[in-house]
Structures are given as C-alpha cells and as structure tokens.
Symmetry: C2
C-alpha cells in the first residue's frame, strides 16, 4: 500500500486528489520533443522525491515499493518540470529521458502501431 | 459504475488491463504540437466509441456516464490515433483539439506554472 506520510510541501499535498490507493497518475513526457514516454504512479512521497532529487520516482503498484526510474537500467528520467492538472488528480512530468523509457527497450511504452480508428479523423 | 459489456474488438479487449472500476487512463495529446491536453478515463465501450466515431469519448467517474468531449462546450477532440502501452493499462490518444481542452477555458488542463523542482535538472 502506498504511504501517505511524507515531507511533501503541504501546499502541494493539499491540492493532490489521490485515488483509493493514495496515488495519482504521472505522465512522463520528453521535454523537448513532446513525445509521451510512459505513465507511472506517484504517492506524496514519490512526488516529494521527484521534486527534490530531480529524478523521476514512482510507486510500483506491482512491487509495492518506490522505484527510481533508471536505477536498474540506467535509463533515468531527469526532471525538467512537474505540473498538476486543474483538479489535482494527474501530474505531467517533463523529463529528459536517458535511453529507453520502456522495459522492452523501446523509446516509449506506447505501441508504434496504433489501434485502427474507423470513424472521423 | 463503468460498464464492461461492449462491442469493442475482442482482440483489443483482450489486451486491456483495467483497474478495479473497469477503466484505463487515456492521455489526450494534440497530434501535431505534442502538447499534453488532459487525462480522462475509458472503459471498453468508451474506447469502442472513440475508435468508431472518431471523437474522444470518456467515462465520467464523477457523473457515472459516458461523455463525448465537446458535446456541451463544442470543444471536441477529433481522434487521429489511439495506442496502447506495453502492459495494456494506459491509452495514448492523439487528437486534434478544438478550442480549449480544460473546463476553465485553458488550452490544457495542466498548470502553466509548474511546481518548484529543487533537485537535479
């Protein structure tokens, strides 16, 4: 379970609208190209560490632990900026991604082949 | 509660890894500028409607109803592509956003002033 006790700035914590597990989704975007790399999850402490260390830190839901992106792979995400959305339930983290964001070795976690869209466009 | 019965292509449905409410987060990104506009939630049927109508359709967790973005405001999201991520639990939807994505009238839902980052960069 995600922890809620944290050194996160209380003014920021007051704006966060967490899910039932105490988490908010964090979209990681390459700061200069605009490429969306992945989506991870942060609790207050993961956000605090991200803001104060300058390296993206997520809460791993599968492992139940904090996870500094790149500590195993070397593929760190150097934080450029972190923005909350209008209702405080999503974070947009602009980063400089070293190497691949995806564990498969691909640059991003999103399929290169999109799903077929039959309407509109 | 989100519905799970849907006409969504079974091959796509088989890849979706939904949360306990049957939903996956969907990141809406302006297709040409790369700007991240907002994050919404889709169940199978919302994704099916998004793919077949070419207009982003979300599940509103607060209202408990499907919601075609723009049907009230005129600020539709015309779908260019929809991609699943490597573990099937996030969607990246590239759109052409008419007007403002945010209900505040701002172009995106994310704060123009990011949170202070004290480490790294």
């Amino acid at each position: 379970m995600a922890r809620t006790a944290s050194d996160l700035d209380p003014a920021v914590a007051a704006r966060l609208k967490r899910n039932a597990d105490g988490l908010v989704p964090a979209i990681a975007q390459q700061y200069d190209t605009g490429e969306v790399l992945m989506l991870g999850w942060m609790d207050d402490e993961a956000l605090h560490r991200t803001l104060t260390t300058g390296r993206c830190t997520y809460w791993s839901r599968s492992r139940g632990a904090y996870w500094v992106k790149g500590d195993t792979s070397g593929h760190h995400q150097h934080v450029k900026s972190v923005s909350l959305d209008c209702d405080g339930d999503t974070l947009l983290v602009k980063v400089d991604q070293v190497g691949a964001a995806c564990h498969t070795g691909d640059r991003t976690c999103f399929d290169a082949d999109p799903l077929p869209v039959s309407g509109g466009q």
